[in-house]
Amino acid sequence: MSKATNQGRSHPRPRLRLFIWSVMAAAIFWTLIYQAGKKDGGVPDFVYVNF
């Protein structure tokens, strides 16, 4: 199994990548639930604009 790379930057091997991806996706999901459940909260804006 070879490592996927982008300009020499190595990425985790597929199984490890899937595990890390799942942890990050779960963290994002629960953050969104938490933010949406706050009294004056809502789902944060996804747009990544500095300007």
Binding site: N6, Q7, H11, P14, M24, A27, P44, V47, N50, F51
Partner: protein, 388 residues
């Protein structure tokens, strides 16, 4: 990102699978225009319009002058094009920062205020003109420069892709196979994890600390560290999203962060933090100004001025000027004293880690100038003096 935008993006990615490679540029330009138009019509009009009305015609004039052996003419057109885009950017910045009365309330003002990404477009536009003045890139029409200017993944905040590199990617677009799709999904998730979870978390703690009416030394130091981490997670997160998003659209976007917190000098830090802006300044300021050739105090002074300019590029305010002056002074001092990053073989033990700590401290101290006001900077600085 709203629902229609995600819908269009999904449609574009799916349509890309069936579009022949020879039509990739036309497809990419149209898809980018639709995506940007859906998000902000003003941005599409301003950046797309500048690409079609200024960049492409001047690029053609540069090419013609160079092809006929008129190198001075080619350079002249390069300067004219760069000056035009830079003037538009200055107008844009002044209008944003100071709300000049003669523009306020008028149509151009409101258009400018709803525009995003012009600051980064400035870098791409100058690189396009520069590359055309250096080498012959066969241009069949304005579609490739339109695609380059509007490329949605990097439009708002980089990474700054070089035009020659973008052309190579257009010639061999990345297929939307499982390997690329899973990598893109990973990078996008990583980006949102940084931005939505880690950046929000550290900012929450920083905001709670800075709200204290009377800060102590450790609290001030903690705020500085948290603020540096926030900047990293926010910007590196954004870069991860841009790289993943670019891959979905078939273009490999350059990396922007290469373990900057392991740098052993401020110069090395700037080679690893926002890498593409450093490359841009090397290609368009350092080398043309002869800094690489002359070295010494001259190169150190150019590095200092570049950081000052970088500060002003962030915004026309005294805080950004101070940030640029801080980093400019650090780079100048490192250049003058001949301080160099540690050799790979020496990177171990206490001296290595103390160099890393010292570098990060200097960088983090500059980060205080990104606080909203001088009052906040003063509040933090007062706290730093209170250790007993």
């Amino acid at each position: 990102m709203n629902a229609p935008f995600i819908g269009i993006l999904t449609g574009v990615c799916l349509a890309r699978v069936v579009v022949p490679k020879r039509h990739f540029v036309a497809f990419g330009a149209i898809a980018s225009a639709v995506l940007i138009g859906a998000a902000s019509l003003e941005t599409l009009a301003l950046i797309g319009g500048t690409a079609l009305v200024v960049l492409y015609p001047i690029g053609t004039l540069i090419d013609r002058a160079r092809a006929s052996g008129d190198l001075r003419g080619s350079k002249r057109w390069f300067r004219v094009g760069s000056a035009l885009v830079a003037c538009a950017w200055i107008l844009f910045k002044i209008n944003r920062e100071f709300d000049l009365p003669f523009l306020q309330g008028t149509s151009p003002s409101s258009v400018l205020l709803r525009t995003v990404g012009f600051s980064y477009f400035l870098f791409r536009a100058i690189n396009y003109l520069y590359i055309r003045s250096l080498t012959s890139l066969p241009e069949k029409g304005p579609l490739r420069v339109l695609f380059y200017s509007l490329f949605p993944a990097t439009l708002t905040s980089g990474p700054i892709q070089k035009y020659a590199e973008f052309c190579r990617e257009c010639a061999l677009p990345r297929p939307l196979d499982w390997a690329n799709f899973s990598l893109a999904a990973f990078r996008i998730t990583q980006g949102y994890f940084y931005k939505l979870c880690l950046a929000v978390l550290v900012k929450h703690f920083a905001d709670q600390l800075i709200a204290h009416p009377s800060l102590t030394g450790p609290e001030s130091l903690a705020i500085i560290v948290l603020f540096t981490l926030f900047t990293f997670f926010d910007f590196a997160g954004y870069s991860h999203i841009a790289i993943g998003f670019g891959l979905l659209l078939g273009i490999r976007v350059p990396e922007n962060f290469k373990q900057p917190f392991l740098a052993t000098s401020v110069t090395e830090f700037w080679r690893n933090w926002h890498v593409t802006i450093g490359d841009w300044f090397r290609d368009h300021v350092f080398i043309p100004a002869g800094a690489m050739r002359r070295g010494g105090i001259y190169a150190a002074a150019i590095a200092g001025f570049v950081m000052l300019g970088c500060g002003m590029w962030h915004g026309f305010s005294t805080l950004f000027l101070a940030w640029g002056a801080w980093h400019g002074t650090l780079l100048f001092l490192e250049g003058v004293t001949g301080s160099k990053p540690m050799a790979p073989a020496d990177r171990h033990g206490p001296s290595y880690w103390s160099r890393i700590l010292w570098t990060n401290m200097k960088v983090a101290m500059g980060g205080v100038f990104f606080l909203p006001s001088w009052a906040d900077v003063g509040h933090l600085a007062t706290g730093l003096l209170r250790w007993w």
